[in-house]
């Protein structure tokens, strides 16, 4: 019963972070900030939701599988964000600050 309550809280929290990530994705001004919003909330949401789900199992094989998924996601999701940001950088995309900087330079 207690487990259930905790799990529910975790799940709701996870969902909430997911939502904020999505909102951030839409509302933030440029590419890098958006990636930031998405990747940070993604990781925390993953942890919360999967932990919440594990609490709902009988701690059998399913829990182990969920744990594997968690590890896998924690490995890949930040890597993906990293790769995304890096290749954007590689491709010559500038951050907001840099743009401001360069504009300043133009004005001077």
């Amino acid at each position: 019963m207690i487990l259930e309550v905790i799990s529910t809280i975790l799940l709701i929290l996870g969902a909430f972070f997911s939502l904020t990530g999505a909102i951030g994705l839409f509302r933030f001004p440029d590419f890098f900030t958006r990636v930031h919003a998405a990747s940070v909330t993604d990781s925390i949401a993953t942890i919360l939701i999967i932990t919440g789900l594990i609490l709902r199992t009988d701690f059998d094989l399913v829990a182990v599988k969920l744990l594997f998924i968690l590890i896998f996601l924690l490995l890949t999701s930040p890597t993906a964000s990293h790769a995304l940001a890096k290749s954007a950088r590689h491709g010559g995309l500038l951050t907001l600050a840099e743009i401001r900087e360069s504009k300043k330079g133009d004005n001077d």
Binding site: L75, T79, H82, A83, S87, H90
Partner: protein, 325 residues
């Protein structure tokens, strides 16, 4: 609850499909298609079709999207505005759709247990297959035994696709010089990839041999294993990947898988059964079924692995060639 989730997912699908129609950016179109596949995979889960969902996620969202992106890299990501009127297609679609809606009017209600589809043939699978085949996953039982011939055909289709791509795009020559790809400098990526790839292959093996008990089977396993090598090729470069898994070896594997499958069928000839009758493979029919299913799933697995990887190689070889030019 099931209906509600279904409805929400379907609504999202509809939005996705509509966006695809109007978007001109092909990259976005392909991404949306990946999304579409994922959403439909979710619907499949929601409708209890876990095996199908698994496959759809691996294939539709995975392989298909990768291939489409690969194509886009070669053909450009912008669709040109076309000026011809879309009136005729619209008319055709409206007529077809109207016909389909008309057809739904006499359909049995959605999800009703008394529907004819659940009455005639299916009950036997549900009730008897655990006894006759001895496997808990009925989908695998039906796929690999009752309708094994379909699956043989399916393997042949994959093989045919591999032949097609091979003839159209050719294969990369193994072990060429790696050209500097943008990913080479990604230390993080390479480290993570080295961690993930073995896990993926392990997972593929699990799916391959656990498919009798849970969702999965040769097909999904093959796709996942191929995905692992594809990841390797993406991160470490195609030449290195072709060094690890040689294109010619893939050809042999693809052919071998079909041969294993068909060979199982032929073996049952010689043991006195009909084609693909596994009962005769062992003295106990249930054991025989089990042996047969494991063998043919293995055949499917290696053919799918080889074909999918071969297809990817084909596209990658083209990209390589374009890059050099």
């Amino acid at each position: 609850m099931v209906e509600l989730i279904d409805l929400v997912l379907l609504g999202m699908l509809a939005i996705t499909a509509l966006r695809v129609i109007f978007l001109k950016d092909l990259f976005a179109v392909v991404m949306l298609f990946g999304l579409y596949s994922f959403l439909s995979a979710l619907i499949f889960v929601n409708l209890d079709a876990v095996d199908v969902a698994f496959t759809e996620a691996a294939v539709g969202a995975g392989i298909s999207t990768v291939l489409m992106l690969g194509t886009l890299a070669l053909t450009g990501r912008k669709e040109k505005a076309n000026n011809h009127t879309a009136l005729l297609p619209l008319l055709v679609v409206i007529i077809t759709g109207a016909a389909l809606i008309y057809g739904t009017l006499d359909m049995p209600p959605f999800g009703h247990p008394d529907n004819p589809a659940h009455q005639h043939v299916a009950p036997r699978y549900i009730e008897e297959s655990p006894k006759e085949i001895g496997l808990p996953n009925m989908v695998t039982s039906v796929l690999a035994s009752y309708r094994a011939f379909d699956t043989l055909g399916e393997t042949a289709v994959v093989f045919a696709a591999a032949i097609g791509v091979l003839s159209l795009l050719g294969m990369p020559k193994p072990g060429g010089v790696a050209i500097d790809s943008g990913l080479k400098s990604h230390l993080v990526l390479r480290v993570v990839a080295k961690l993930v790839i073995p896990m993926t292959i392990l997972f593929a093996l699990y799916v391959q041999f656990h498919g009798d008990y849970g969702p999965g089977g040769g097909f999904q396993a093959g796709v996942i294993a191929a995905a692992a090598v594809i990841l390797y090729a993406l991160v470490f470069g195609l030449p290195l990947a072709t060094h690890v898994v040689r294109p010619n070896f893939l050809k042999v594997l693809a052919a071998l898988g079909v041969l294993i499958y068909a060979g199982t069928g032929v073996t049952s000839f010689f043991l006195g059964g009909n084609f693909l009758d596994y009962n005769v493979l062992a003295s106990d029919p249930v054991v025989g079924q089990h042996i047969g299913i494991i063998v043919i799933e293995f055949g499917i697995g290696i053919t799918v692995f080889a074909a999918m990887l071969g297809i990817f190689y084909g596209f990658a070889a083209q990209a390589e060639r374009t890059n050099i030019q």
